[in-house]
């Protein structure tokens, strides 16, 4: 089962955990892992072309981070070159690079979040707790496209009557458009209010209904994610995530000692990979089911009555 089809709480948990992991340390390994998995997820959800379209602003942003950090931060021992009294060090360049990668990763994660959590899913999560706000949001999502369409209509009918607006009529046209749109929307709102009253909105017994149900099948992925997060957190707390940029790049010995670093990295990697693991598991379980079905001894009385089915099931 794909992550996208899960309960919104599962999706929200995944993205929250991923953001916490990405931002809680400033480790090059995490930044790289996060960026790579964020990009792959984006490719998986939106296709390579759309994913690639973020590069033109992610790359310059990263370069800018490097530039700023290396210019304004002269800590570090490995001097690459000096401009007057300003020395640019390898350490500060790398620090800027990691910051840029982290920021890029976060932006890519947010794009995927928007793709997975449309307004309906978010509302489903909020609906019970904030019924008034969730209802308002729903009404707003209804009104925005309608108002845009009405605005377009007004503009069209105006241009139909008068042709392309010119000179001072352009401003007058814009003002008039706003007036008409307001009057029109208000007129419509009166009817909408009537319709709400006709459907017992004033009864004062309102209880929000969400269409998305909690289900037992959401527990395993939730548990798995919690486990990965716990592992990563324990490793990090034991010092596994320590990394020194200054005075020179170094992984402290205490980090390398014992299970701390291994636990932290494994937990993080597993968590970042959750969407792909979910995909892989769903493919795998389909295969297994298929294999089982072919092997299964179906009751001969059932098979006798069923027309010969090709692989792929009934229909």
């Amino acid at each position: 089962m794909k992550l996208k089809d899960r309960h919104p709480a599962v999706i929200l948990f995944f993205f929250a955990a991923v953001l916490v992991l990405t931002l809680s340390t400033h480790h090059p390994a995490i930044a790289l892992m996060s960026l790579l998995s964020a990009f792959l997820l984006r490719v998986r959800l939106a296709g390579i072309r759309k994913a690639a379209r973020s590069l033109p602003y992610l790359v310059p942003m990263t370069l800018l981070m490097i530039l700023f950090n290396s210019l304004f931060n002269d800590r570090g021992l490995t001097v690459l070159f000096s401009i007057r009294r300003l020395s640019v060090t390898l350490e500060s360049v790398l620090y800027g690079l990691v910051s840029g990668l982290m920021l890029s990763a976060v932006m890519l994660w947010f794009q995927s979040y928007n793709n997975m959590m449309d307004s309906g899913r978010f509302l489903a999560l909020m609906g019970r707790r904030l019924p008034v706000i969730s209802m308002m949001i729903s009404m707003i999502f209804r009104l925005i496209p309608e108002s845009v369409a009405h605005g377009h209509e007004i503009e069209m009918s105006r241009r139909a009557l008068l042709g392309e607006p010119k000179g001072r009529f352009r401003l007058a046209g814009a003002i008039r458009m706003t007036t008409v749109l307001m009057a029109w929307s208000m007129e419509n709102a009166i009817e909408t209010a009537d319709a709400m009253r006709a459907k017992a909105f004033d009864a004062g017994r309102r209880r929000a209904y969400g269409r998305i149900r909690r289900s037992a099948r959401d527990i395993p992925p939730m548990a798995a994610m919690a486990l990965f997060l716990a592992l990563a957190a324990a490793g990090a707390l034991a010092g596994g995530s320590a990394f020194l940029y200054y005075p020179f790049l170094a992984v402290p010995t205490r980090a390398r000692a014992g299970w701390a670093m291994a636990g932290w990295l494994t937990g993080s990697a597993a968590l970042f990979a959750v969407p792909f693991l979910a995909d892989a598991l769903s493919v795998l379980s389909d295969r297994i089911r298929e294999a089982r079905r072919q092997r299964a001894d179906t009751d001969p009385f059932v098979t006798a009555m069923v027309p010969r089915i090709k692989s792929g099931g009934p229909q």
């Binding site: 999502f141 069209m156 009918s157 139909a160 419509n188 909408t192 319709a195 006709a198 459907k199 269409r211």
Partner: protein, 538 residues
């Protein structure tokens, strides 16, 4: 099961209502009863008090004002209004269905079950997840019906629910109402200004005129009542009913039973009557062809690269000083074609050739988008500077369109017919030579349509050219010189109006359908007037 005995579920006794600040009563001395399980039609011309009466039956929508007498409603009521879009509150279909039940505080499991049931009954399971903005007007109105019925009201009140829909959606909507009535035995109270299809469906009619009950009884006797009187509302009767009555009058054969309300009954009666008449004289077809004012050649259009083409090689020739109707179904590209002719949109390929120097004016479908002032007179004066006209011209055109009494009225408070006339007046003040009208008679009652048709005929005789796109075949037949059929992005037929409608079997006027194969060459009501009793010479 509902109580099957015929106890009234609505009972009005000397019921009067006056709006605050008005001297005259909007509803006068209404006394009537509606038995449980009845389908009541509240008929009447615009402004006769239909909406006021229906709203008075719904506790939450009762208008403010002075009430006298009594009206008792014994049960829960649901209310469906005219405008499909404005009644929708939430952003998704499933959420709109849930809205009323949420308000009643039902448990989620109960709501889920009701949604499932209702979606199934209405056959809308497949669009339950869709955003409401993507629905067509007809689909929106079905959603409004479903989201009202889901609350399980005893009485369903509908205030002109089909007025803003196209003919195909109207038929579907009425079928659903009929099913609700037959299968659930609910009481339905509906106001309508069109009688075709409706009259044969309902079992009682309450006819309001000037706020009074002018008639209360069975639909058959109601048709008889209207036929015997020269009321403007008579125009609303089904073509089938009117055609039969016309022949009965001409041949002097009085009807044995109640008037025919539907096409099969009317055709049976017409078969008896037709041999007693002389077929009407053939109408001279020859109409000299006029100069071409606009020509569209092979228009192709799509709204965005990647989207399907809306027009696929549409060609059209418009002659000067004529009325040209382009008819076609939903999504056939009618509005798009009109926008291309106006120059608002440019074709992907193909060409629109206009005679140089002519001024074009276009009225889009939502004429509301045109109005910004608080009073009609100011509204019409709005473009005086730009259009180079003054008070005199405005007063003149208001008088011409019969709008002179409405100078101070807010444009939104005009009736459907008045709004269209006001919009047309505003357009004409800019003195265009070529008028392009998008669905100009949508939502108009029969009497207003007749008036509007006369308006357009006069304009054409004065040398204006009119192109209108519409669903309304009867209106096209009565108004247009030339008709074109737009189908699948192409103009598949263009002919003079009479041969055009004579050549179609299904896609033709109500009169042509009723008389097809019985009396030749009947397209409009005017044709019926030409029929003479056999043996009688003019």
């Amino acid at each position: 099961m509902k109580d099957q005995q015929v106890s009234p579920i609505i009972r009005a006794d000397g019921f009067c209502f006056t709006y605050p600040g008005e001297k005259n009563e909007a509803l006068k001395e209404l006394s009537f009863e509606v038995p449980a399980g009845a389908f009541l039609l509240v008929a009447g011309p615009g402004g006769s008090g239909k909406t006021t009466l229906l709203r008075a039956l719904k506790e939450e929508l009762k208008p403010a004002g002075i009430y006298q007498g009594s009206v008792e409603v014994d049960g829960e009521t649901g209310f469906v209004m005219q405008d499909p879009s404005n009644q929708i509150v939430m952003d998704r279909v499933w959420h709109e269905l849930a809205f009323g039940l949420e308000n009643l505080g039902l448990a989620p499991a109960a709501i889920e079950r009701r949604i499932a049931e209702t979606a199934h009954f209405f056959g809308i399971e497949h669009w339950i997840d869709r955003p409401v903005n993507e629905l067509s007007g007809g689909e929106m109105q079905i959603l409004n019906l479903a989201s009202t019925l889901i609350m399980n009201p005893d009485i369903l009140i509908l205030d002109e629910p089909t007025a803003r829909l196209d003919p195909v959606s109207v038929a579907h909507f009425l079928d659903l109402l009929d099913r609700i009535h037959r299968e659930t035995g609910r009481t339905l109270v509906m106001s309508e200004h069109r009688m075709t299809d409706v009259l044969s469906m309902v079992d009682r009619v309450l006819f309001l005129d000037g706020g009074r009950i002018a008639f209360n009884g069975k639909p058959g006797s109601f048709a008889g009542y209207l036929l015997d009187r020269d009321l403007p509302f008579r125009a609303a009767l089904p073509a089938a009913t009117k055609a039969v009555r016309r022949l009965e009058e001409e041949t002097g054969q009085s009807a044995a039973g109640p008037p025919s309300l539907d096409v099969p009954a009317a055709r049976r009666r017409l078969r008896q009557l037709a041999p007693l008449t002389n077929p009407p004289e053939a109408v001279p077809e020859a109409r000299q062809s006029r100069e071409v004012i606009l020509e569209a050649k092979e228009l192709f259009f799509r709204y965005q690269a990647g989207l399907p083409e809306v027009l696929k090689g549409a060609s059209l020739v418009i002659e000067e000083a004529s009325i040209h109707a382009v008819i076609g179904g939903n999504g056939s590209g009618k509005s798009t074609l009109l926008h291309l002719l106006s120059g608002l949109l440019d074709p992907v390929s193909g060409k629109v050739k206009k005679r140089s120097g002519i001024r074009t004016g276009l009225l889009t479908q939502h004429t509301q988008a045109l109005f910004s002032a608080d009073a009609l007179f100011e509204e019409l004066m709005e473009l005086s500077e730009l259009g180079g006209y003054g008070r005199e011209e405005v007063l003149g055109i208001m008088e011409r369109f019969g709008l002179e009494g409405l100078a101070d009225r807010h444009p939104y408070d005009l009736s459907g017919g008045e709004i269209q006339k006001a919009a047309l007046a505003k357009l004409l003040l800019l003195s265009p030579d070529l008028l392009l009208l998008d669905e100009p008679v949508k939502g108009m009652d029969s009497a207003s349509k007749e008036q509007f048709s006369d308006c357009l005929r006069t304009l054409a005789s004065e040398g204006k050219t009119v192109v209108l796109v519409t669903h309304d075949l009867n209106f096209s037949a009565e108004t247009a010189d030339t008709c074109s059929l737009l189908f699948d992005g192409r103009i598949v037929a263009t002919e003079a109006a009479r041969p055009f409608f004579r050549g179609n079997t299904f896609y033709t006027t109500d009169y042509a359908r009723v008389t097809e194969g019985i009396i030749p060459d009947i397209i409009t009501a005017a044709d019926l007037q030409k029929i003479r009793k056999a043996g009688h010479e003019d």
